[in-house]
């Protein structure tokens, strides 16, 4: 579906993307995970043809994507990161306007508008001005405004920022339903939970480069350990940094130490030593490794920075 071949995009002061290559297959739910400023939105803008790359080439389906190729975007829906809505008119009117850009037959459009509004639970508020909506409601409207032409490729740029957990789940369900119905989805986020939950394949992007990509299992397998250990920072643990370092690399992360176990690590001997030093095991948590840990491992930084 999507082929990104050695794409570079430069802005006057920064290189937003550096020699990116990616492919997304038909029907995939592809996650683009990365921290702020990683280049996610820039990549989305290139995929829709809003920007032209400075180097490399992007094709969607059979069409080469450029600023001037209108054909390529007919079948793509972009959910912009910003709330791209007209505040002073109603939700319904917004959808009618954005739908009109695709020459959809009137009845079909009306039908789709109703269906999408119901799907994100905005049907009752359809006659209200968008300026009276809450942040989360605007997000949901922002999402469906990109779905009116029933695109086979959907590009979602952080579509759930500021949405409460319940509505977020509703959005997830909706997107998964669309994916099941055969739509290809590219989903950017800096929440690893979202990527883990939704995406069949994930690329981690940082500072304009793809640092790794694969299925969730592929990615987690890249971690050399099976357990992730975090030690809560408090008076009894802070002084024991040297002790923890004997078992692996320690990363100082806000309120806790993250321990990346080394090759010879044994859980039993770790707990034994720790108890001997008078650290309560209550302060030690073990979990399955996550993308968060992988990001930490690859970049030495936390995803949330």
């Amino acid at each position: 579906m999507i082929r990104i071949n050695d794409v570079t995009k430069k802005f006057p002061t920064v290189t937003a993307l550096q020699n990116i290559s990616l492919t997304v297959a038909d029907g995939e739910f592809f996650g683009l995970l990365g921290p702020n400023g990683a280049g996610k939105s820039t990549l989305m803008n290139l995929l829709i043809g809003y920007l032209d790359p400075d180097g490399g080439e992007i094709t969607v389906g059979d069409d080469k994507v450029t600023r001037d190729n209108l054909e390529a975007r007919k079948n793509i829906g972009l959910v912009p990161q910003s709330l791209a809505l007209y505040d002073d008119i109603s939700a319904q009117e917004n959808l009618e306007i954005f739908g009109s850009f695709y020459h959809i037959e009137k009845r079909t459009l009306r039908h789709r508008i109703e269906e999408r509004l119901r799907a994100v639970e905005l049907y009752d508020r359809r006659k209200d001005r968008v300026s009276t909506f809450s942040g989360g409601m605007k997000r949901r409207l922002n999402l469906i405004a990109s779905l009116l032409h029933d695109p086979s490729l959907l590009l979602c740029d952080e579509p759930t920022v500021g949405v409460d957990p319940q509505s977020r789940n509703a959005i997830f369900d909706y997107l998964e339903m669309l994916n099941c119905a055969g739509k290809t989805i590219v989903y950017t986020t800096h929440y690893m939970e979202e990527a883990e939950r939704l995406c069949t394949r994930i690329a981690i992007i940082d500072s304009g480069t793809i640092i790794t990509e694969g299925t969730l299992d592929d990615l987690l397998a890249k971690l050399s350990y099976e357990e992730s250990i975090s030690i809560i920072k408090n008076s009894s643990t802070i002084g024991k940094l040297e002790l923890f370092r004997q078992f692996g690399t320690v990363i100082d992360d806000d309120d806790r130490f993250e321990l990346k176990p080394n090759g010879t690590f044994r859980l039993s001997s770790f707990f034994k030593s720790v108890e001997e030093q008078g650290v309560s095991t209550r302060f030690i948590e073990m979990s399955k490794p996550t993308l968060e840990a992988l990001f930490l491992n690859l970049t030495g930084r936390s995803l949330r920075d």
Partner: protein, 436 residues
């Protein structure tokens, strides 16, 4: 208090962050004051080189004197011939000089007819044709003209008397008569004999500063100043008819500037991205904005003129075709102007600032506020570069002069030309992708 101070600091920080917008805030008043200063600044000198059609058909010396004085006053620039279709300069005659004014090439004409002054007459006969398309200008022209001619009368009058005396009485007695006249005038006007100097024919300019006020009133009776309004005689509301064009243009430019900068809001909210994500090109967005703004401008102007015709009896119907064409051309030009603003500005406040600056500048030098003829020559050259000048002139032609469409073709052409040029510049600028 501290809070208010913090808020004020915030305002200044934001203001200072946009250098261009800030600069314009100061540049606008400075520039406009400079323009007004150059127009009204040297109050005693007044406007310069107002075109005045002039024909001297009289052989009397006073005719030449008046011509000479008018030629040397800074207020007027005498036009004594016109250009025919083949580009030849043809001297005026009594018919063509009226046409010249009627067509709007000059606001006024002064004709010294063949019988302006004869040996047997005491009075001076003059003809004045005028087109009060601009009241301010007409007042100045009439004022200065009257003053100049009056200044010539005492000399002419006395010279005539002298000549008659010499002819009737012979040289000796004539001289005696002259001396007698001197004391007579002195007694009559209650002036010191020494102060009465008979003006010589070669010293005409000096005469004007020397003549006395009392003398002027007296000689007024002697002057037969026949004036005829050539244009706009039957217009119900001259004031409104003359000024409606200038007002219309200003409103139009403000509306279209405001409307054009809406692009910045759309860009900021991301709507532009959403629109461009659909199969719509930048050029299509631009043209749709252009056509929308143009129609908006056209409707606004139409409403303005409809109300003008109801409230102020401005006659819009007699020349409807010309007026409509002009409205379309003016809307086109103003729309391009708005587009240019949003194409060259980086922020909305820059576009607004630049817009205000250009609107006020163009209105003032384009003649919406005071006649361009009052402005120094180099500013007048700029006047003709403004769309305000050409549209106002067009409205004047259509509403005031009742000119047929053919006569406003140059105006339409220039306006459409301006629109084409600045639209191309804007489109190029937009293509570079600075705006979206």
């Amino acid at each position: 208090m501290k809070t208010v101070l913090a808020l004020i600091t915030k305002e200044y920080k934001l203001f200072l962050s946009d250098r261009v917008a800030m600069g314009l805030t100061f540049l606008i008043p400075i520039f406009l004051i400079a323009i007004w200063g150059s127009i009204f600044g040297s109050a005693d000198s007044g406007p310069e080189h107002l075109g005045l059609a002039f024909l001297n058909a009289s052989s009397a010396p006073i005719g030449r004197n008046i011509e000479k004085v008018l030629d040397t006053t800074r207020t007027f620039r005498l036009v004594k011939s016109y250009q025919d279709e083949r580009g030849n300069q043809i001297p005026f005659d009594t018919v063509t000089i009226k046409d010249y004014v009627r067509k709007g090439n000059a606001s006024a004409a002064l004709v010294i007819p063949p019988d302006a002054y004869t040996d047997t007459s005491i009075g001076l006969k003059l003809k004045f044709y005028y087109d009060p398309k601009n009241e301010m200008e007409m007042r100045i022209i009439q004022g200065v003209l009257t003053q100049t001619i009056m200044s010539q009368l005492p000399g002419a009058f006395i010279e005539g008397m002298q000549r008659k005396a010499v002819r009737f009485l012979g040289l000796d007695s004539g001289t005696a008569f002259n001396t007698g006249i001197k004391s007579l005038v002195s007694r009559y006007f209650n002036i010191d004999t020494g102060k009465i100097v008979f003006p010589s024919l070669t010293d005409t300019t000096a005469a004007s500063s020397r003549e006395s006020k009392g003398g002027r009133d007296f000689f007024k009776n002697v002057l037969d100043f026949e004036s005829e309004q050539l244009v706009g005689k039957n217009i119900a509301n001259p004031m409104a008819t003359r000024s409606v064009g200038g007002w219309a243009m200003m409103f139009l430019m403000f509306t279209l500037t405001a409307s054009s900068v809406s692009l910045f809001e759309e860009k900021q909210s991301g709507v532009v991205l959403r629109i461009l994500a659909s199969p719509i090109s930048r050029v299509q967005i631009l043209w749709s904005k252009y056509l929308y703004n143009m129609s908006l401008g056209f409707v606004q102007l139409t409403v303005l003129f409809v109300f003008g015709s109801i409230l102020f009896k401005i006659d819009v119907l007699s020349n409807l075709a010309g007026l409509i064409l002009l409205l379309v051309a003016a809307s086109m030009a103003c729309t391009s102007f708005g587009m240019l603003l949003s194409a060259v500005s980086k922020t909305q406040s820059q576009a607004r600032g630049l817009g205000t600056f250009l609107i006020l500048a163009m209105s003032s030098i384009g003649g919406a506020w005071f006649p361009t003829s009052f402005m120094p020559g180099f500013i007048q050259a700029f006047s003709k570069l403004t769309l305000v000048y050409w549209s106002m002139d067009g409205f004047l032609q259509v509403l005031w002069r009742g000119a047929p469409v053919v006569d406003i073709l140059p105006n339409l052409g220039v306006l459409v030309g301006i629109a084409a040029v600045i639209t191309s510049v804007s489109v190029l600028q937009f293509k570079k992708g600075h705006v979206f």
